[in-house]
């Protein structure tokens, strides 16, 4: 299916729209409340961006330090250039451990490298232990959101899935009864796993510890009982110290769910020690590049700041219309529209950077201040330069790119556009932006609230 077809399908799915509205609406409200209680959030996120930039600029040094400290704690560290290499390493460790059953704690990197599929191909039973991932696994689908992978599923659909596959399913189709059914089912599966696999929210360079965060407690139940713990982590996850991790954790939880902190934040440093009654006998950490070094060198270094909080998609007018599956890649929403062309190639994903209104909302809410609209614009220009766009699109974009390179003119242009938007806007939505019809046809613009993002940006409110 093409992007246009996927969007069409999504727009004609009435259940999907309701599901997205509910989840993202709640997420927006909770985030806003959390940030109101953190008045210095603006400088805090600029600091977070600076910390990440420092690490990305010195990534080799921090990775080497992390590796040495993780090894000193008894973990084995592996390196993988590509998704295939990473999967091969994981499967090899599983085979050496004679693993029949693997418990997985949700990790977007695992999805990115295709680990679920690789485990299946190797005949290893995979138990997804995050509730949403469990739902997705039963439905044979992919996540549609990086924080709420089953966001597109209604309670009725979940009830049917559980009734068809749980050993002792819920008696009544209430959400608490369904959650309890999953708890019963997964508990047994987790405690009998041979290997536990997780991602990492942070890798702490000066201790060699790996940090995971969950609200359910499924990571701990998946990673402590099995004989082997395997971590797959993107190389950009490293931070200098616990203090840096703490700062980022404060921003991550608030941006993702509006909580001050995730329920369970755990730091794992190596395998079982003498005298311990629990814990894995082996801990393996697979550091995965999969295009990250290239992104760093080719103009997407800022994207490596991303801490996978999901705020950009919760606040994106396009995501809220079409949901996550329409994006077609591992990562949806604005961050996905930047990452997917880098991970899967621009030719197949060139429509994604175009599915954006450039309203700047994603950057405003991003806890590490990633200039997502600028990065998307970069992809559009590249796509145009490489001749991937049809002629009409090329003409519209060429004009736009010409104006965008002249900031004063661009600002004037957007201010004019905003005045026009105010005039044409009905109930906060605008069907067409006259100045940029090349890529606004068929897309809705949110009505600008007070002055353009650029105007506020210049006033220093960023």
């Amino acid at each position: 299916m093409s992007f246009a077809e996927r969007v069409d399908a999504a727009l004609h799915d009435p259940l999907l729209k309701t599901a997205i509205d509910r989840a993202t609406g709640t997420a927006q409200a909770k985030r806003a409340a959390a940030i109101a209680a953190f008045p210095s959030f603006e400088p805090a996120r600029r600091r977070a961006a600076a910390i990440k930039d420092h690490v990305i600029a010195n990534l080799g040094a921090y990775l080497a330090a992390f590796e040495a400290n993780a090894q000193a704690a008894g973990a084995a560290v592996h390196w993988a250039r590509t998704a295939d290499e990473a999967c091969a390493i994981v499967i090899d460790i599983c085979k050496k451990a004679d693993a029949k059953r693997v418990a997985r704690s949700k990790s977007m990197l695992g999805e990115e490298i295709g680990l679920p599929h690789a485990l299946e191909a190797a005949d290893i039973t995979r138990v997804e232990t995050d509730l949403a991932e469990h739902i997705i696994q039963l439905a044979h689908e992919r996540p549609s959101h990086i924080i709420w992978p089953a966001l597109h599923k209604t309670r009725e659909q979940v009830a049917d899935l559980f009734r068809a596959s749980h050993r002792s399913p819920q008696n009544e189709d209430t959400i608490p009864a369904m959650a309890a059914s999953a708890r019963r089912q997964l508990r047994e599966d987790m405690l009998s796993a041979d290997v536990g696999i997780s991602g990492a929210n942070f890798l702490i360079a000066d201790t060699g510890a790996v940090c995971t965060v969950t609200n359910e407690g499924n990571a701990e139940l998946s990673l402590v009982p099995p004989r082997v713990h395997i971590v797959t982590a993107g190389i950009e996850k490293v931070v200098p110290s616990m203090r840096h991790a703490t700062h980022l954790l404060r921003l991550l939880a608030r941006s993702a769910t509006g909580a001050a902190l995730t329920q369970y934040t755990t730091f794992y440093a190596g395998p079982r020690r003498p005298g311990d009654r629990e814990g894995p006998e082996e801990m393996h950490i697979v550091l995965v590049d999969n295009g990250r070094t290239r992104m760093r060198d080719e103009g997407l270094a800022e994207m490596l700041r991303c801490i996978r909080c999901g705020a950009c998609m919760n606040h994106c007018v396009v995501f809220r219309q079409i949901g996550g599956h329409a994006y077609g890649g591992t990562y949806p929403g604005p961050m996905g529209a930047v990452l997917t062309p880098a991970l899967d190639g621009l030719a197949g994903a060139k429509d994604l950077p175009n599915a954006c209104t450039l309203n700047g909302k994603c950057r405003e809410v991003c806890p590490v201040d990633i200039p997502l609209p600028t990065l998307l614009r970069g992809w559009r220009e590249k796509s145009w330069r490489e001749g991937l766009e049809p002629v009409t699109m090329r003409r519209g974009l060429g004009l736009w790119a010409w104006a965008a390179k002249r900031p004063a003119l661009y600002r004037l242009g957007t201010r004019v556009a905003i005045a026009a938007l105010r005039r044409f806007g009905r109930r906060g939505w605008i069907a067409r932006l006259p100045l940029a019809s090349g890529w606004t046809d068929g897309r809705d613009f949110p009505r600008p609230e007070a002055g353009s993002f650029m105007a506020r940006y210049r006033k220093g409110e960023r």
Binding site: A64, A150, N215, T257, D297
Partner: protein
Amino acid sequence: MSARDAILGKLGPARPIADLTAQADALIGHAERPLLDGDTIDLFLAQLDQPSIAATHDAVDTLGDLPAAVTRYLDANVGARALYLPPDPQLLDLDWQSVTTLHSCPVDDGAVLAIARAGVAETGSLIFETAPVAPMLPNFLALHHLVVLHRAHVVRWLEDALLPAGPQPRAHYWVTGVSGTTDIEGQYVRGAHGPRFLHVILVG
């Protein structure tokens, strides 16, 4: 070329980590924090009351009073006077006559007791470390998680509870409330995989 050398090669020559430390320290400096006004203990207890944390609490003067407080909780909330105790002499040496102490942790019901190294007023977090006398799995398996916390170990900020760099416990974990999920239609359900109830007993 190994994958390691290829990746590190692409990242270019690395500056010695010692050179970077000063820069990294300067970047974290006095990091921004959320608003926090009032007495540390009061704030900590208020955080425990938050719906997102939903922990109950009690207080005793000395560790010797702990068994009575635990019995009170079990009578009111669990029914059975039974409890899993970690193999920590600080706890084992107390007088547990009124309670049956279990040798293995109940899976999915019952209660477990653990000592927290610190409590954090900022977030209402409880901080634990693994050790031979302090396994972590029981604290995720039981339905009721009872936590002993010395009043003097309640700190204001997360940073106040961080361990210095250098050798770490096998795992340390920050528990901020009971297990929960919003994975089905965004509706909050308590007790997803971990404990459904969290009870803090302050000592001192």
